[in-house]
């Protein structure tokens, strides 16, 4: 056996790139995220147990008392919220692992390489977004149980929203992770970021709406649709609720509200916020956050101690 590693080719080249985008680097960093995800069963289990807890147990449990929200069963109403919750967890977990990777993992190896940081960041963010779509799809498996009918288009639409939400949240997480020196637990992220974003997005209670109602669900579908066309969302015993102003204000400033509202429209054809705002936030915030995240990772690479 000889030691051939030293001889031969002279030095590395920077991977082929255009304007900071090296497709091979984006691909290899994306693949890394996918391999890591596929080897971490706890994440899949977490997604499943979250779905059962929120969608099935809370959905049917609280649904027994609430009956309906704007004509939807409570479990149906919170379906998009549970998807969003899974996406938030997946994206932030992927992003926060950066703190770990930088201190005791592979990121230092990446930082000393001649690869452009923009491509490294893109691979990471796209990886986080892809994992988000997979984790966010878990609640879709439960739709027969709660009586939501999926079509090819609603699933494709939901995946698109999940992808952009996942991209946005991974980027936001990376911006935060780039500032953290040490990290000893996901708890603070969960309590300090995921839960506020989740609760203040209209995920589990409507901004304003008719709650209650009797027997709407037992009405045949065609009649129900006809009633809805007439503007009747509940019959008998319903009441209009409106959130207190200060909670409403928080919901309006939370970007996740708009992404969630778009997702709810795609899956249930029900929305509470202006569609133009939903589309603008969902598809506009993600690219913007990606730019800031790439910049944060670049700064992190050069300020490593």
């Amino acid at each position: 056996m000889t030691a051939p590693a030293v001889t031969g080719r002279r030095y590395a080249k920077a991977p082929p790139s255009w304007a900071g985008i090296a497709p091979s680097v984006v691909w290899v960093m994306w693949r890394r995220e996918m391999l890591r995800y596929s080897r971490d069963r706890s994440q899949l289990f977490g997604g499943l147990s979250r779905t059962v807890l929120w969608l099935v147990i809370l959905g049917f449990g609280l649904g027994a008392a609430l009956r309906e929200i704007e004509g939807y069963s409570y479990a149906q109403y919170i379906l998009p919220g549970v998807i969003v919750l899974n996406v938030l967890f997946a994206a932030l977990q992927c992003a926060i692992s950066l703190v770990w990777d930088r201190q005791v993992g592979i990121m230092r190896e990446v930082f000393v390489s001649p690869s452009p940081m923009l491509s490294v960041a893109l691979g990471k963010l796209l990886g986080g977004a892809t994992v988000s779509v997979i984790q966010g799809s878990i609640p879709l498996l439960f739709t027969p149980l709660i009586g939501v009918r999926l079509t090819v288009w609603s699933v494709l639409g939901a995946w698109a929203v999940m992808f952009f939400l996942g991209l946005f949240m991974t980027a936001l997480g990376v911006i935060i992770a780039a500032r953290l020196k040490t990290f000893e637990g996901f708890g603070s992220i969960s309590n300090g970021l995921i839960q506020p974003l989740y609760f203040l997005s209209g995920s589990i209670f409507p901004l304003r709406g008719v709650i209650g109602g009797v027997g709407f669900l037992e009405i045949p579908q065609h009649l129900r649709e006809e009633l809805r066309r007439l503007g009747i969302f509940a019959i008998g015993g319903g009441w209009v609720v409106q959130l207190p102003g200060w909670i409403q204000a928080l919901v309006y400033v939370n970007p996740v509200s708009y992404q969630l509202d778009l997702l709810r429209y795609v899956l249930l054809r029900f929305q509470q916020l202006p569609m133009a705002a939903n589309i603008a936030v969902t598809f506009g915030a993600a690219p913007l956050a990606v730019v800031f995240a790439a910049w944060a990772m670049r700064r992190m690479a050069s300020a490593d101690r």
């Binding site: 030691a3 030293v6 590395a12 080249k13 691909w27 005791v104 040490t182 000893e184 050069s302």
Partner: protein, 312 residues
Amino acid sequence: MSLPPERGGSPAASAAAGGPPAVDSGVYTVSAATSAHGGAASTFGSQPAVTVEGLGRRFGDLIAVDSLTFSVAQGEFFALLGPNGAGKTTTIHMLTTLLEPTSGRASVMGYDVAREPQRVRQVLGMVFQDPALDERLTARENLELHAVLYGIPPRERRQAIEQALVWASLVEAADRRVRTFSGGMKRRLELARALMHSPGVLFLDEPTLGLDPQGRRHLWERIDALRREGLTVLMTTHNLPEAEACDRVGIIDAGRLVEIGPPGELVAKHAGEGGDLEDVFIALTGKQLRDEEATARDLMVSFAKRGGEHTR
């Protein structure tokens, strides 16, 4: 555990040294091939591999490195010695473009670390103080990642990866996840990885730290084989026998270079008859204990040892 039984690294290298690897006495002796150079920097390649002029780095009020000046010739085997917190790792991080100097300048293979970081990154190989591997990936996957990051063309990648696995004696463990590896296996993998793109200068930050004597010797034999092939190596170490085997050592304390020269000369100058490098080290840096506060990385490592959470 599958540490390969074969000793002596590469037969070719042993032959070049005129016999078995010179590590038998338990002390890392200078091998015949390199001792001929006598450590005089001028006998090596024309342009220095590493040049450092007045290099400094401060973090707020703290001066981590205060005006270092030295150079490492091509083909030289150079060690930076110093107590904890002396600025060794900070210096290496500046030379490898991870940290920008706040004063002075430095270049690697003629490229300025501040002005041409991209160039510098292409010519250096780096092994960090603690493993910079993805523990959830296999050895092969870690090497694949490296091959892409260093722009090794797709058609050469397979061969480069196989060579690295053979070199690290990890062929059988290639498809195991790195988290199942021993400390020695991880180090060998990292060293092989750092050589995949044929760097001009290899930086090793405490390469044998935390290894058992067997792992330490095995790794040292690999490093020794490299020097005989003429690779420039700049390492930091706490291990004085290892430093004694280098062509030259630089001793730094409190961010300043206090002495530099071949180990033999330093011993003669500061320790006298019967002394060794440890005597020199203590004579120059004092007996005072250097306690450091735990860094963020230390906290993370201890957190990892307690089981970590979620992120692995």
